[in-house]
Symmetry: C2
Subunit: 311 residues, 2 copies
Amino acid sequence: MILTVTLNAALDVTYGVDRLVSGTSHRVGETHERAGGKGINVARVLDLLGRPTLVTGLAGGPTGELIRGELRASGLPEALVPVGGDARRTVTVVSHADGQATVFNQPGPRVGPGEWAEFTARYARLVRDARVVVLSGSTPPGLPADAYARLIRTAAAAGARTVLDTSGPALGEALGARPDLVKPNAAELAEATGHTDMTAAALALRAAGARAVVASLGPRGLEAHTPDGAWHAAPPEALTGNPTGAGDACVAALAAGLADGRPWRRVLREAAALSAAAVLRPTAGDVDPAAYHRLRTTVRLEELHAPHTHR
Amino acid sequence: MILTVTLNAALDVTYGVDRLVSGTSHRVGETHERAGGKGINVARVLDLLGRPTLVTGLAGGPTGELIRGELRASGLPEALVPVGGDARRTVTVVSHADGQATVFNQPGPRVGPGEWAEFTARYARLVRDARVVVLSGSTPPGLPADAYARLIRTAAAAGARTVLDTSGPALGEALGARPDLVKPNAAELAEATGHTDMTAAALALRAAGARAVVASLGPRGLEAHTPDGAWHAAPPEALTGNPTGAGDACVAALAAGLADGRPWRRVLREAAALSAAAVLRPTAGDVDPAAYHRLRTTVRLEELHAPHTHR
């Protein structure tokens, strides 16, 4: 089983409007509500791949109830821990006239020390059955700075591998716990290390504790730096669509590959193909299956031989 | 007691962002949630005036629970009828850089015939204790076209006076039930009658059944056409601020005046003063008390003597 952790689970709400004009009132045509947060999106993709998965994390209040209800309706098993504060919403306004998406992210409710202790106790039991633990997204206010580091150590002690997809201080604080894999995008990598060169930045994350780094570079694919070598994997064609869920699809493929103990070359082909296939779908957590099956055999994989890329 | 009816009650959510840029992602700095819908805003102003008021209408699902909880916290008595569908939200994004407010209005849940019958039965009991009934805002999908007409007839049969503040087909369908007062704004008046001349439009609404019409004209004040005469009431100065709640404050003053059986001149002065004082406050349902007390003695009232303004 792959356990996905979403400490700041959200209800993702999409509003359709004719055209978004700042400073005016809009009649919302249609509304969609879906459980979200990066870890939940990863679980959706794993479920599409037929991989047993379990959603955990924090989700409280009436919005937390809506999140749990939507997960049940989607057939995704969940072990979310309720907290007192109401779970956050993310509102995406899709403007039909120009296709633009405008997103509003709430910060999420403050979590108390007792609630965090309740979560970590539950998590310690859940990781016993997990082959891989995926830790994704921002952390809500109130958590200790080393929240992800503690969760990584608990997972490692239980024999599970860990994949971390977060940014900013949460990423920096977690590296010392030696996650098996971190998956930043180009902007997160530059922010975390101060390096604009991808290779230098990835090596800096490895030096700080990450066992492997897979950076997602948008249409340019993935760059991986691992103990076994370094590679660049890219789809044969640039696909246009909604890039929001590409990172989560990438993480799902990486987690599935780690769970199976597959060689990096194969894992990276799968991850590049699944990311690109996610771009073709309008919602995060979904992939285009036909594109995925086509791309997994046509992704171009190039080994990076420069001496500074290995160690 | 003044009964305010909000058939499409809402949770009004305000998001603060640094600057709204269409097509990008925004971190929401602060979030405020408040029960809303025009009738609820009217009740808030009546409560500020010290007038006994009761909120009724339709509000279902978890969002309906949040609406009820917020009303309790605000000390506003409510007799909202729950329905199966989740109540709507309105999201207002305030851009701190330029002060602009961008609003997204959800349509509200569909209401079934059984739910409507349950509401009308409850309403028939509530109006027995009401001196005035205020019917405000849009109606949710699923209600009969003559929903407001029926509520007006029920109120009149119980001896209560009625104030209607709605627009479009809901306004047109309700006039035949002879509401005591309708309060359109300039755009609603033009849309309902096809007349761009305010006086011609107000007379057309009276001809269609409204006993009196008070049109709110933004900074230009109010124009009233009643069986006792016609007047224009305007504040001595143009006030700038947030006009969203000015119409609801106007309705509150009109309802309070009707409840007391006061002469129109006095009612109109109060309504013009209270509307203008609402513009000074950022949220609907609130007024600036100092401005209100200053303006109620300085509002300029002008009788409209043209022969076509009386009948």
